[in-house]
């Protein structure tokens, strides 16, 4: 198929309508095609993208009427009021003239000036009188003539008109010079072949039930410009933070872990005391932890209260303990959980012998009393896990973490010694960021201290435990530098964010 007939098959109805008139300038096309100017320009742009013509835009100056100009054109210039007045009264004082002409101060002043300059009037002894024969008054002034002709392109004004324009420009809002884009086009050689042709080709524009019903082989459908841009749409979508949380959740389930859930607001007992954190530990101060303005909570689990107290005070015979007098009132204070390890504590306390071995995980929000900056927020996500089995070891703990982070996309992991009040041995986990070539600190893990397991589980048995921040990972997956972006809920950002795969 030659290029010409291929293009003919792609012409939209709009384009087809103007093809016959393409040898003419745009104003004429608008007139002859009976389309409005916007549609003609649109059709011309389509044709340009098909290589039929090339458009060019020129800026043209045009003299148009200002707001006062529009008014005066419809009525007449204020000086005409004055002239009419002088036609019937030969001499008028300023006050009389002003009052009778009903002009505003400003209009009156301008009118006087204009007429004086033209020597249409003279002013003597405080009186205004006509200076020209009354017959002359029927003639339109050059100003009035120009006003009537406007709007017109600046270049079309003759020398005399230009001078008058300068005079009119002195007056307020009579005339304005506006810039106007004028579009013109030039046909290409392809365009030359097409222009002027009546296109009678019968192309199907839209596939309708009728078209389907009456379809036959010889029918033709107009071809579309597949490169043409289409309006953007937005769809429903999960928040990118939750996408990553779901992914982590899936991985733990795959690895045989059962999900824990529980309260965000919790008594200090389960957040700290049950985890062998002494009551004067700095982490328990208001400086770091959100305390909630509610009356002291209840510790319903009396079965574990006594062993926890003893573990702190004297180590229950297996350890030195922290050697102080444990206070139940302090344990009753209600806080926002500072780690999801409170869920692990409650879970362990609820386990029975025949529940073992057991593996649990949790993903949830934790809180710390902190100001917000690019790297910190008062809320953050943590992923938590415990493995309870009499045979598990410290290297097994490292094994679970290695597998999890590998599945999350981090092949290289490193372990450093660390310290937590409730684990021993403890370990700090870093993963290597392959693109940024740096280690990312994720947080801690360890084996629960015997003081913890004896108090909560009733026996000393290894419980592998970890609780790592997930925000660093979420930021990495979604290429977020500033943590505030994670929580800003910028709707456009959520719409545009890539889906993590």
């Amino acid at each position: 198929m030659d290029k010409k007939s291929d293009i003919i098959e792609r012409l939209s109805p709009l384009e087809r309508k103007i093809i016959p008139f393409l040898h003419h300038p745009i104003e004429k096309i608008v007139k002859d095609s009976e389309l409005d100017e916007t549609s003609v320009i649109k059709a011309l742009r389509f044709l340009e993208s098909k290589g039929v013509l090339s458009l060019s835009t020129a800026v043209k100056k045009k003299v148009i009427l200002g707001t006062n100009g529009i008014y005066y054109k419809k009525n007449h210039l204020p000086e005409r009021n004055l002239l009419h007045l002088l036609e019937t009264h030969n001499h008028l004082s300023f006050d009389e003239a002003k009052k009778m002409s009903k002009l505003s101060d400003n209009e009156f002043k301008v009118s006087l000036g204009a007429l004086k300059n033209k020597r249409f009037i003279v002013i003597a002894n405080g009186k205004i009188s006509l200076n020209i024969p009354k017959e002359e008054l029927v003639k339109k002034t050059p100003e009035e003539q120009l006003l009537e002709e406007l709007p017109m392109p600046l270049e079309n004004l003759n020398k005399e008109q230009r001078e008058i324009l300068e005079v009119l420009k002195q007056r307020k809002d009579l005339v304005e010079i506006a810039e106007e884009n004028t579009v013109s086009f030039k046909l290409t050689s392809l365009g030359d072949q097409l222009a002027g042709k009546e296109i009678t080709l019968n192309l199907i524009e839209e596939i309708t039930p009728e078209v389907i019903k009456t379809w036959s082989k010889n029918k033709k459908v107009r071809k579309y410009d597949i490169d043409a841009s289409v309006p953007r749409i937005y769809a429903g979508k999960r928040h990118f933070v939750n996408q990553t949380l779901e992914r982590a959740r899936k991985i733990w389930v795959e690895m045989g872990f059962k999900e824990m859930e529980g309260n965000i607001a919790e008594t200090s007992f389960w957040v700290f005391d049950a985890l062998f954190t002494p009551q004067d530990h700095p982490a328990r101060e208001m400086q770091d932890t959100f305390f909630i303005k509610v009356p002291p909570g209840k510790i319903k689990d009396r079965e574990h209260l006594k062993p926890v107290k003893e573990s702190h005070e004297n180590g229950m015979g297996i350890s030195k303990g922290w050697q102080y007098s444990w206070n139940e009132d302090i344990a009753k204070r209600v806080v926002l959980r500072t780690h999801t390890t409170s869920l692990s504590a409650r879970t362990i306390a609820s386990l029975k012998e025949n529940d073992l071995p057991a593996k649990f995980f949790a993903i949830g929000k934790c809180f710390r009393n902190e100001t917000v900056d690019w790297n910190h927020a008062f809320e953050f996500y943590q992923t938590e896990g415990i493995v309870v089995d009499k045979n598990v070891t410290f290297v097994n703990l490292l094994g679970y973490l290695q597998v999890f982070y590998k599945k999350m996309g981090f092949d290289k992991i490193r372990f450093r010694p660390s310290f937590f009040a409730y684990t021993e041995p403890s370990v700090e986990i870093d993963v290597f960021h392959p693109a940024r070539k740096e280690w990312i600190e994720l947080g801690g893990a360890g084996i629960f201290r015997p003081e913890v397991t004896l108090a909560l589980l009733g026996k000393v048995t290894p419980v592998l435990a970890w609780g790592q921040g997930l925000d660093r990972i979420i930021r990495d997956v979604h290429k977020i530098k500033d943590i505030r972006e994670m929580y800003s809920n910028d709707i456009q950002d959520i719409r545009d964010k890539k889906v993590s795969i």
Binding site: H239, N263, M286, V294, F378, T393, I491
Partner: protein
């Protein structure tokens, strides 16, 4: 966690400092970074013995295998009048003290700064900001022995506080002196304040607040010092004293014990090291290694222990050995965390998502099908939001940000999102599933706070019909039967809002947001919402 900066020049007298060494320090359990003038290490709170450079050098040399085992420190017997009399009057206010004397020191300006630094770090960590313990150091030539530790009426305590010019009494110091004001809470409410007083009735200090300018200030001409630790936990005081005297001893000082005369007589510091049994089997079982007896003989001295046939001696300055596991971790550190090979064991369990997570995930999928965008907001809300919405909300204590309350609903965060997204393309259709908080009036919970999982759908522009369509659709596909009753809902338009009930209990509401509320939030586009409890 405390960050300690060791002078790089001093540090380099003991170690060749390079990236490899820094890495090694991290593997010792103290993450380190190298700066131009200093080496910075992060200490965990269990190892205050590493706060002084001397302590760190001693322990890290052992770790590197250079000088292993317990370093012995010579404690000389007390000379005449090396005594501290502890009056029963201190029992109520600050019951314990532990003291020593160190002679033959050389105090340069730099050394004085170094010691003050150690003192401050120990106050902040082990001392819990001087509450649990505080340390005082005094030039021996300015005081006369023996010393007395007693509690006195604040008005009867008179001395010039360190850095001050005029004499003040105990109460004036708490009220007017900058350090006094900073720590006044530690003595507030007590009838009597503790003081150290010398044989000539001169006040040395009023612990844990401040020393005397006259008797409690070390200068470059000082050679001998009196050291005291005071506080509530005798064990911690003894440890702190041991850490200090090992530091002074490593600086070249000669340490003398002192006799404490309280309810009983006691000679301190007692540098006997505690013994503990350790089982090789337990070590291997916990770590997952197969170490031999001779490995323990090699590894334990690297963490400053002495080990022989199942029994070890613990360095007297270690504060953190409560149980055998604490030693097992040290064995792992000496072995090298970098050498541990991760292994996944065969622990057969079934994985299971929680019902809540599963439900939320299915619901989120359904809502996405309705062309809704998920948002995720803070659980905390701002004070003016609570006020504007007249919503009963639970308050937090001393929040450092504007977010001071727990959200009672998801409407507040949703309206904030609309208010902050006015410049983005409409329609804006959002949903969120999350926890909301209310007072537990029936006292069923342990915390007095009821946590519920709510779902909100909010569309802008949106009207009653559209939001009811969404509600209808959700009820149908989720198979939940709800009743809707016309009722006014706070912040919604009367006549265009309804309460949602299930089994005759209120579970949510739907309707058009009131123009007044929208004005409060400076929102210009109409909003229709549906919020419902999921449980």
């Amino acid at each position: 966690m405390a960050n300690i900066q060791f002078n790089r020049k001093e540090f380099e007298k003991h170690f060749k400092v390079d990236e490899k060494l820094i890495e090694k320090i991290s593997l010792f359990g103290t993450p380190a970074s190298l700066k131009e003038d200093y080496v910075e290490v992060e200490l965990f709170p269990n190892r205050p013995d590493l706060i002084p450079l001397q302590g760190f050098v001693r322990a890290f040399k052992a770790f590197l295998g250079k000088e292993t085992g317990i370093r012995e420190y010579k404690i000389n017997k007390p000379e005449k009048n090396y005594k501290v009399r502890i009056s029963p009057s201190v029992k109520q206010v600050r019951p314990f003290t532990a003291c020593a004397i160190v002679k033959n020191m050389t105090f340069t300006d730099e050394r004085i700064k170094e010691i003050i630094n150690v003192q401050e770090k120990m106050h902040a960590t082990l001392g819990r900001n001087r509450k649990k313990l505080a340390i005082g150091i005094y030039p021996l030539d300015k005081i006369s022995l023996p010393i007395s530790y007693e509690a006195r009426d604040p008005e009867k305590i008179k001395f010039i506080p360190l850095g001050g010019e005029k004499e003040m009494n105990g109460r004036e110091i708490l009220e007017n002196h900058p350090t006094g004001k900073q720590y006044s809470s530690l003595l507030a409410g007590h009838q009597k304040f503790p003081v150290f007083v010398d044989a000539g009735s001169k006040v040395l200090s009023m612990p844990p607040i401040i020393n005397s300018h006259e008797t409690g200030r070390i200068t470059e001409s000082t050679r001998d010092v009196f050291i005291e630790c005071s506080g509530f936990d005798n064990e911690s005081l003894q440890k702190a004293l041991k850490i200090l005297i090992t530091m002074f001893s490593d600086m070249g000082g000669k340490v003398y014990a002192m006799e404490l005369e309280g309810e009983k007589k006691e000679l301190v510091p007692d540098m006997t090291s505690e013994k503990m049994k350790i089982s090789l089997e337990d070590v291997n079982k916990l770590l997952g290694l197969s170490l031999k007896e001779k490995d323990l003989e090699k590894l334990l001295p690297r963490m400053e222990y002495e080990y022989k046939q199942g029994t070890l001696r613990i360095p007297p300055w270690r504060t953190d050995i409560l149980h055998q596991v604490d030693i097992i971790e040290d064995i792992a550190i000496a072995y090298g965390y970098e050498k541990l090979v991760p292994q996944v064991p065969n622990v057969s369990t079934f994985g299971e998502e929680s019902k809540k997570a599963m439900k939320n995930s299915i619901l989120a999928g359904t809502l996405i099908g309705l062309n809704l965008l998920e948002t995720t907001s803070f659980h905390l809300i701002k004070q003016d939001e609570v006020k504007n919405m007249k919503a009963e909300s639970i308050e937090l204590e001393d929040s450092k940000t504007d977010y001071k309350y727990l959200r009672p609903n998801l409407l507040i965060p949703a309206l904030r999102i609309f208010a902050e997204n006015k410049d983005h393309e409409y329609p804006q259709r959002i949903f969120e599933i999350g926890t909301v908080f209310s007072s537990d009036k029936k006292h069923l919970t342990e915390t007095g706070i009821q946590e519920k999982e709510n779902m909100i759908v909010a569309i802008s522009p949106g009207n009653f019909t559209e939001i009811k369509q969404i509600h209808d659709y959700l009820s149908r596909v989720l198979g939940i039967e709800y009743e809707i009753e016309e009722e006014s809902v706070p912040n919604l338009l009367e006549g265009r809002s309804a309460i949602i009930k299930k089994d005759r209990k209120n579970v949510g509401y739907l309707g058009e947001v009131h123009p007044e509320t929208l004005q409060e939030w400076k929102i210009k586009m109409p909003i229709a919402v549906l919020e419902i409890a999921m449980d």
